[in-house]
Amino acid sequence: MRNRFLLAAAVLALPSLAGAQTINFGTYVSVGDSLAAGFVSGSLVQTHQATSVPALLARQAAVADFQQPLVSTPGIPSELQLVSLVPTPTLVRITGQGRPLNLALPRPYNNLAVPGATLIDSLQRVSDGGGLHDLILRGQGTQIQQAVALRPTFVTLWIGNNDVLGAAVGGRAIDGVTLTPTPAFRAAYAAAVATLKATGATVIAANLPDVTSIAFVNTVPPVVVNPATQSPVVVNGQTVPLFGPGGPLPSSSKVTLGASALLAQGIGIPAAIGGRAAIVNGVCQNCLPDEVVLDASELSIITAHVDANNAAIREICAAANVPVVDINGFLRSTSAGISVGGINLSTSFLTGGLVSYDGVHPTDIGYALVANEWIRVINENGGHLEPVDLQPFLKVAAGGPAVAAAGAREPGAVLSLEAYASLREIFGPVNQR
């Protein structure tokens, strides 16, 4: 009788014991892509890697010996910088290139995230012919293989962005070419989660932002803008559409930042109001190419993939008891701006504070806010981490006048063609990497 009572007490105690479990951050491994790598302004560089989301999580969890594939300034590729605001904001890459600083580490890095990696890359790719995969993976196996080799106690899985991002950056939404087909995504995601869970580690994942809502896609309007006033040109009470592959763009089309250097040359701007674009014999000449334009159908294909992939992430993670950070919802909540200490931060390009110069990746401030979203979910699942202090990122207490960035200057447009080309190289079609 007495024993039976004790047994009952033990059974009753089980759920509360489960709820009180704490996360062991002893060996923390990050699997991911550019977002987890701390990629900022088109560059992997130690000044920003130092505040990558995994590095911030490791710092808050006091993880000892958290190693990243650090790259010296000005980064690989070299960091974009803003060289002037007027008359046209001009972004160019800093001349020169950084070098790897941590190649000799005799074990896999804790932050294995590779900029440009797709979900399937994380499972299958070992090398990419001298690219960032080689720099980070060093021939020691795939991201997932190296993660397992580290015998992790805690894993963050933040991958899948490049399975949809290439379509937005490249202006083409083609299933199997710029977008990973959803069945393949689902199968690969289940495999990744199963492999990482099998290590016994606590795994926390993140879903995918709607890549059609990023600054890269939402900064250049599909109409002619007066560069002096930054407001749309109005003729006879109407705005003037830019010319895309098929002539005047409908208002539902989006023009990417990749078009900005072309627009500066008059490409896409109708000849009738001083540009170079015209339809001659039914052929659009000097019109914006398809790569820098997303039409309504492409936008809806991309969003449908994001939604389907997020459904897969949700279902697979729920079944495997893996909490999911809602990055998609967080990005949506920032689109109207969020207030931090009376400072309104938004995803507006250059002026919003959350998006770096490539129009795709967050700034350090943006990453710190995202890290706090991770911490919120970690703490809901047995963690006890303090939020990241945003003050050093906002530099509010420092006061005093700001100093403009110095460095190489060369003429260009909003995003130089060369800078755009290197972004496309890293975040290109999913089937060509």
Binding site: I365, Q391, V396
Partner: protein, 427 residues
Amino acid sequence: MYTSRPVALAAFLLAAAAPGPASAAGFALFEQGARGMGFAGAFTAQANDPSAIFHNVGGVAFLKGTQVYVGDTRVAPHFDFDGAAPFPGPVTEESDIAAQFPPSAYVTHSFSERFAAGLGFNVPFGLESTWSNPDQFTGRYISTKAQLHGFSINPVLSYKVSPRVAIGAGLDYRLASVTLERRVPVINPFTQSVVDAAAVTLESETNSGVGFNVGLLAKLGDTVSVGASYRSKVGIDFEGTSSFVQIPTGNAQLDAILRTRVPQGSLGTTTHIDFPAIASVGIAKVWNKWTVEGDVNWYGWSSFGQLPITLEGRPDLSEVVEENYDDAFQFRVGLERALNEAWSVRGGYFFDQSPAPAESVSPLLPDADRNGFALGLGWKGARWRADAASWLVLSPDRSTEGVNSDDYNGTYKGSAFTFGLSVGYTF
């Protein structure tokens, strides 16, 4: 916009009075006469000097002859703030508030055994929250300085319905002005960090609103009295200007762009504040040389729901600050011991509940519960009387609980020391 002589005079008085900081919760002030202060403000059931005009207008009918009672209180509040992550992180900020001197002056006249009238001038509300080092203060984009200065002109009538019961009523003509200062932040696109683009100062005219007060005082036998009083809500529409001063960022290109965005000169600005209703009940008893009183005050702070700040033609710079205050109570007990015919000593305690939800506890209104400890001394001659009292007001640490609506989180610690002196004369 007031240009008539009486109001111009009132505006001058306002500047001279410089009444100030809230040493009661919200931005209420209860330092309305040094005798009542000696009882920790528990005075609704006694109301036996001309400060009855504030505490309980029912008491005025019991005052004999013509009486005046004037005084001033030195209020010296201080608070500091310990920040928490995520913002502003581990910083300590301090207030920088000069001592304030809210005055009070009352005159009453008994026309007959039953009927009396009075006129009061006092400061039932006021606020001063100014932060040290506004160039570096981490909350400067919310508020660097907030002032609410004002006073009430309160003519009253009081009538004894029986030898032991009196009622009274008055008009509360309230004048006030508001000053708010803060910095405007901008993201420097070159550094992707925050810089100050401008300092903005909102200054209202001295605007007015009208309310009323009523009261009842009953003497139940020779040693017990009870009182009840009510002062209505007063809404004031403020009109004024916001002036912007651009702050150089150190980058000429950014400064040139900001010059086209920061309003030049001053912009017409309006705001509105509903000062809450106050209801009080109290009971007092005399035992030989001892007098004791206990009061409960209710403040209808739920009327302070929003602080709308509207800049003419600039919806982008206008805002509605959500305050969502709750009604709140105060509990006061006071004790007096007569030492002889002339002298008496007093002491008391009050608890003053904060009406501010954690979301609204901010550099603009760093509100908290308050514990007040009172000591007082009185002297009374044939025609003259004089009273002195002091309050030590301590606030328990007030955390924003991580939910401040501007994401400016941490813990505020406040205290205030007040010293009041009042002098009375009976003609």
